[in-house]
């Protein structure tokens, strides 16, 4: 009987769910708070409050698509054994979001405590927002990417507004490579690249996964 990877995975996923909700609240919360505050109390224009609320709801919705598990997970066939299932690590995303903080502070300082033209705080603000959204989008994207290794295939799934699956049967794998940059070595991350030929469609790149060693080992077992 077919079963989904979700059913086969460790059911102890409450903490992970809580972490996802907390991170999504951090991402969407400020926009919702500013928009709500603008509507209720401050003299923020109505259209601006509306934009803030829309952005907040947009980010929250994207996060909830993953947290609420709207799209179906990978179905395993009868007798197929799930070896590894990973999402990309969120560390780079959080690092980018954290990196935006000093730029936000600088923009606020230039805006509040100086009389320099707006272009200067605006530039810093845009830079900060870019870093923040870059991290946030990476986090949201990573929520929707799943790498799965079973005893029959290696699968990469991107499930957002559409479902995109790339799959390599285990008997077609011709190479496995593990790549780690210096920072990835320091932070315990890395990429595992599985190929069945030349070309993008013939390659599954499991990027930015934490502790890629066991994943590589599980795939290497196919050659035994």
């Amino acid at each position: 009987m077919a079963a989904s990877t979700r059913q086969r995975q460790n059911p102890n996923a409450q903490s992970g769910l809580f972490r996802k909700i907390a991170a999504s609240a951090i991402i969407a919360g400020p926009f919702l708070a500013v928009g709500g505050f603008g509507v209720s109390e401050s003299n923020l224009p109505g259209w601006a409050s509306g934009v803030f609320l829309l952005v907040g709801f947009f980010l929250a919705t994207i996060a909830l698509i993953s947290i609420g598990r709207v799209l179906p997970s990978l179905m395993l066939v009868e007798g197929e054994e799930l070896l590894v299932s990973r999402n990309p690590t969120m560390k780079p995303a959080f690092a980018r979001m954290l990196l935006s903080t000093p730029f936000f502070a600088g923009a606020a300082w230039l805006f509040e405590f100086t009389v320099v033209p707006y272009v200067f705080p605006f530039s810093l603000f845009v830079l900060a927002m870019y870093l923040f959204f870059k991290g946030a989008m990476r986090y949201l994207r990573n929520l929707h990417i799943t790498y799965t290794v079973t005893d029959r295939r290696v699968v990469q799934q991107y499930r957002f507004l559409w479902l995109y699956t790339k799959e390599i049967p285990s008997n077609r794998i011709i190479s496995i490579s593990e790549a780690r940059s210096f920072f990835e070595l320091i932070t315990g991350r890395g990429s595992v690249i599985v190929s069945s030929g030349i070309g993008e469609r013939q390659t599954v790149r499991m990027e930015d996964i934490s502790d890629p060693g066991p994943v590589t080992e599980s795939i290497r077992r196919f050659f035994d």
């Binding site: 926009f31 923020l44 224009p45 601006a48 934009v51 803030f52 952005v55 947009f58 994207i62 805006f111 509040e112 009389v115 320099v116 033209p117 707006y118 272009v119 605006f122 603000f125 845009v126 927002m129 870019y130 923040f132 959204f133 870059k134 946030a136 989008m137 990476r138 949201l140 994207r141 929707h144 990417i145 991107y158 957002f160 995109y164 030929g197 030349i198 070309g199 993008e200």
Partner: protein, 310 residues
């Protein structure tokens, strides 16, 4: 083409190899197609980026041309800021000095009043002593133990002595009151000196500001005697509406409405000065609009990553 050119080699290959070549041809074709699409995407991005940069430069150039006195404007803003700081300092100093003077005057007045009271008590005590002496001597006369005086003369001497005592007291009290007035005047002088120093600074900055406004050919506010000098401390100066408006215009750093008689200086996007075209781009971008634009731009730029999944 490469494979067609090497037809000799291809002719000697078996069926499996030819099939393998076909798949490699397809792969090469796909790769070139991917390169082509990637190149086209980069080209589109480059065109958009160029349009954005050119547009930004054009707007900056036109704004700069429309707003000549940028140096003056920066200086004016600096002076306005300085003026606001001085006025705030003046208001605070006036309050603090008023409190200090009230306390000092109360202390001085209490001290001198106490001195006068002490003097009066001393005089009254002296007069009581004289009266007791008179009563004793008058009893002696009545008992005829003293024959060298009469009651009438004794009473006259007593009255003269009392009158002399009170006269002395009045002169001493007058002197002490004069000292009191001098001390109070000294306190007021100290207070006025401190405030006059700040007023001189304010006048200097205001003169400089008006000269710059004249030089820039901009409307000047009607000079008002916001801070009249100086003989007594104006306690309600910080509540002057004009002072408040000036202070707000420079410390809040928010764009002001360009009403008649109000300062039309605004904090612009590219520069801080009054715009030749008040409806121009420089003033169209308020902080709220800028924040929203920044958020939307960055959201759109990074949202592509989410849509592509890469």
């Amino acid at each position: 083409m490469i494979w067609a050119a090497s037809g000799g080699i291809a002719a000697s290959a078996d069926l499996l190899e030819s099939g393998h070549r076909v798949s490699r041809r397809e792969m090469l074709a796909n790769r070139s197609k991917i390169r082509f699409y990637r190149g086209r995407l980069e080209l589109i991005w480059a065109v958009f980026a160029s349009i954005f940069v050119v547009g930004l430069l054009a707007v900056m150039t036109s704004s700069a041309a429309a707003e000549e006195p940028s140096d003056n404007s920066a200086q004016i803003l600096h002076l306005q800021e300085q003026l606001a700081a001085l006025e705030a300092e003046y208001a605070q100093s006036a309050t603090e000095l008023e409190q200090w003077a009230n306390i000092e005057i109360t202390v001085v007045r209490d001290r001198w009043e106490q001195a006068i009271q002490d003097l009066k008590a001393e005089v009254e005590s002296e007069i009581q002593r004289l009266i007791r002496k008179y009563e004793y001597e008058s009893r002696q006369i009545l008992l005829e133990t003293r024959r060298d005086g009469s009651l009438r003369i004794l009473k006259a001497e007593l009255d003269a002595a009392i009158e002399e005592k009170w006269a002395w007291f009045e002169s001493q009290a007058r002197m002490k009151r004069r000292y009191l007035q001098n001390d109070i005047a000294e306190i007021e002088r100290t207070k006025a000196f401190e405030l006059n120093y700040l007023l001189a600074l304010i006048d200097e900055v205001e003169s400089e500001l008006q000269a710059l406004l004249l030089e820039a050919d901009l409307p000047i506010e009607e000079p008002q005697d916001v801070f009249p000098t100086v003989d007594h401390v104006p306690t309600d100066r910080q509540e002057s509406p004009v002072a408040v408006s000036v202070s707000e215009s420079t410390t809040d750093q928010a764009p002001l409405d360009s009403g008649p008689g109000e300062s039309r200086w605004k904090r612009g996007f590219f520069m801080n000065s009054i715009s030749a075209d008040p409806n121009g781009f420089n003033w169209a971008l308020e902080p709220t609009a800028l924040a929203v634009i920044g958020i939307l731009i960055t959201l759109a730029a990074t949202g592509v990553q989410l849509l592509r999944g890469n």
